[in-house]
């Protein structure tokens, strides 16, 4: 009987191909937009979490709170203090530096390019791996000896020197008021997709380079902040709390005087904002599903009126109220489910094509697809109930007499 109903429904849908398609269109657009919007949201979240993974999800920054008014000189960090912190938390800390960075113009012959300089320690490559293509990475000697050596990416090298292999080349830059000659010791290749590059704000006409963090000190050889990468298996929440408490104790302050910022917290926040955003927009898109459902109801009402005579014949041959009801419900559910299926293909297809054009891995969650299909079937059944019950209730004599 179910198969009978299905084949009857498909036959009825086929008879009015154009009308059936237009009816489905509401659902197609509704489901398509919900799927694409939610998938775009999920793709973005995935992308952000990738970026955070790239930047280092285990990292955190610690510095004296901006709300603290009596900032003392001891609130800054010295190299010795950083060394001590590294020793105390030897099991947890994978990397520590001062999170120092600055912008300055770099000049080579007649070319001047604005550069972002990031101060790093020699083992930064362990927590943020890069592919060295020319020369070498910064080493202990560069750091401890405060040598004016830099490592930059291929794009920056081409920007400043006009070629990728800039090893041995020197440029002039004025950092913290002192104009000096810097030497390129290595060049690495950046690996990121177009979207990441866009978000990270690099590319374009600004270069970036790593220099020994010991070159970027505040007065009296101190640093304003520390940046820590925890090891992979470390419980981040507990570790950063202990680190905060330790630093506060050594500097005779309360833990809450120290501002702690972790990538984890940031990512959670961004993720929840994006999740909320895509849910909200998806919800708005879902309204179009409602409109689609009303379209189905409208067409089913027309169909019931058109087929009054057929309903009468069926009733005279022994169809019960339930039989007629199920026949029309099946039809509206199939209309809606077909629309849903096409909508999913369309929505996922748009996201997929967009993703592959932008070179971004696309996320289409199966749960969203399942939800969309069931929602569209529910829409079909819900909006089919009224027309179907009108068909089922009709009086066979009146229905037979209907022309």
């Amino acid at each position: 009987m179910l198969i009978e109903n299905m084949s009857m429904a498909f036959a009825a849908i086929r008879v009015n191909k154009m009308r059936s398609f237009l009816t489905m269109l509401g659902i197609i657009i509704g489901i398509g937009s919900v799927i694409s919007i939610v998938s775009i949201g999920d793709t973005m979240r995935n992308l952000f979490s990738d970026i955070y993974k790239d930047v280092g999800i285990t990292q955190g920054y610690l510095y004296i709170g901006y709300w603290v008014e009596d900032v003392r000189e001891s609130d800054y960090f010295t190299l010795d203090e950083m060394e001590r912190i590294r020793d105390v938390f030897a099991d947890e800390i994978a990397y520590i530096d001062s999170n120092a960075y600055t912008s300055a113009d770099a000049s080579y012959r007649r070319t001047t390019v604005s550069f972002d300089f990031s101060g790093i320690d020699a083992n930064y490559i362990d927590v943020q791996p890069v592919d060295m293509v020319y020369g070498r990475y910064l080493n202990e000697g560069d750091i401890l000896g405060r040598r004016r050596n830099v490592v930059m990416d291929t794009d920056s090298a081409r920007l400043l020197f006009g070629e990728e292999n800039a090893v041995g080349k020197t440029f002039r830059a004025t950092i913290y008021g002192s104009t000096d000659e810097y030497t390129v010791v290595g060049v690495y290749r950046k690996n990121m997709n177009a979207f990441q590059a866009l978000l990270m704000g690099s590319g374009g006409d600004t270069g970036s380079a790593f220099i020994p963090y010991t070159l970027l000190t505040w007065p009296n050889d101190t640093f304003y902040a520390i940046r820590v990468f925890a090891g992979d298996d470390v419980d981040l929440t507990s570790f950063f709390a202990r680190l905060q408490a330790y630093v506060a104790r050594t500097k005779n302050r309360q833990p809450q005087d120290w501002y702690l910022q972790t990538a984890m917290d940031e990512m959670t926040m961004v993720d929840s904002v994006m999740g909320g955003l895509s849910a909200a927009v998806g919800g708005i898109a879902a309204i179009s599903l409602l409109v689609g459902g009303i379209g189905i109801m409208n067409i089913m009402l027309v169909s019931v009126t058109e087929r009054t005579r057929e309903i009468g014949i069926r009733k005279s041959l022994g169809a019960k109220t339930r039989d007629i009801m199920i026949q029309f419900l099946t039809e509206s559910a199939i209309l809606s489910a077909c629309g849903g299926a096409i909508g999913i293909l369309l929505g996922a297809g748009v996201v997929w094509i967009g993703g592959s054009l932008a070179g971004i891995p696309v996320v289409v969650k199966p749960s969203v697809v399942v939800l969309a299909v069931s929602f569209s079937a529910v829409v079909g059944i819900f909006f089919g109930i009224y027309p179907a019950s009108r068909a089922a209730r009709s009086n066979p004599i009146d229905a037979l007499r209907y022309e």
């Binding site: 009987m1 036959a11 009733k315 005279s316 041959l317 022994g318 169809a319 019960k320 109220t321």
Partner: protein
């Protein structure tokens, strides 16, 4: 009323034959007891049938005649369980139909009545075979059983070669024969034909009436509603209606169609 437990069994899907569907082999297939039908149009009440009492026995071939407005269509609808009388009782196969719900009436129509309509009433864009299968579909017969029986019935009306044709690909006479095959699908005790030849030419009309005669000879009870004397002439009993009342009810010696009359005379 059907006992509550049986209704419950029906609801629970236990396929127990309800009492109103059980075979009842009494002599009288149709018993009308002081049947009254009043149409309430809101402003005036129209008396459609005035205390009709009538009995049709199993195996009879009956014509119900009358002009339009005589009440014959009203009676036809009630006989077909498409409508219910305002007063009085209609016993079909021993069951009082007045007490049945719309769905129970559907089942009665499905199992006990085979309809043949003036305008054929085949489902459009559906093959002849599927049309014949339809009553069996509603009787929840298996696909194989339906197909076999439908083919057998189409063969019986001489249309097995047209099984896959759509109604609009068939002539009027062929359509009506498909409709007759459909009426026979669940082997109902009563065949009810409402002006079955009204839309057909003389040759096709004769063909259809011959088919009814044959069904009757095979033991079916056939009731034909018509206003044409030459159609009624095929039957064995003619009941005339006027103003909602039976004005005459007499036996008729069936006239044989031209084609068969010759043979009959030779055999006599």
């Amino acid at each position: 009323m059907i006992p509550y437990t049986d209704r419950l069994a029906g609801l629970l899907g236990r396929r127990k034959t309800p009492p109103y569907l059980t075979e009842n082999l009494s002599e009288d297939l149709i018993v009308l007891d002081r049947l009254v039908k009043i149409y309430d149009t809101g402003t005036i009440k129209v008396l459609g049938l005035k205390k009709i009492s009538l009995t049709i026995r199993r195996g009879e071939f009956v014509a119900i005649m009358g002009k339009s407005g005589s009440g014959k269509s009203t009676l036809m609808n009630i006989l077909g369980c498409l409508d219910q009388p305002t007063l009085g009782h209609y016993y079909l196969d021993g069951v009082d139909t007045a007490s049945l719900s719309p769905d129970e009436l559907s089942e009665i129509r499905n199992h006990k009545i085979g309809f043949v309509f003036q305008s054929f009433n085949l489902i459009s864009r559906t093959s002849a075979l599927k049309n014949v299968e339809l009553p069996m579909t509603y009787a929840r017969k298996s696909k194989r059983e339906r197909r076999e029986r439908a083919m057998e019935l189409l063969k019986r009306v001489g249309l097995e070669a047209r099984a896959d044709h759509m109604p609009n690909e068939l002539s009027g006479g062929q359509r009506q024969r498909v409709a007759i095959a459909r009426a026979l699908a669940n082997d109902p005790p009563l065949i009810l034909a409402d002006e079955p030849t009204g839309n057909l030419d003389t040759a096709a009309s004769e063909e259809i009436m011959e088919l009814f005669s044959r069904l009757h000879q095979d033991g079916a009870t056939v009731v034909v509603v018509t206003h044409e004397e030459n159609i009624a002439a095929f039957t064995e009993r003619i009941i005339r209606f006027q103003d909602g009342e039976v004005v005459s009810d007499r036996k008729n010696r069936p006239a044989l169609p031209e084609s068969r009359r010759g043979k009959e005379e030779i055999s006599c």
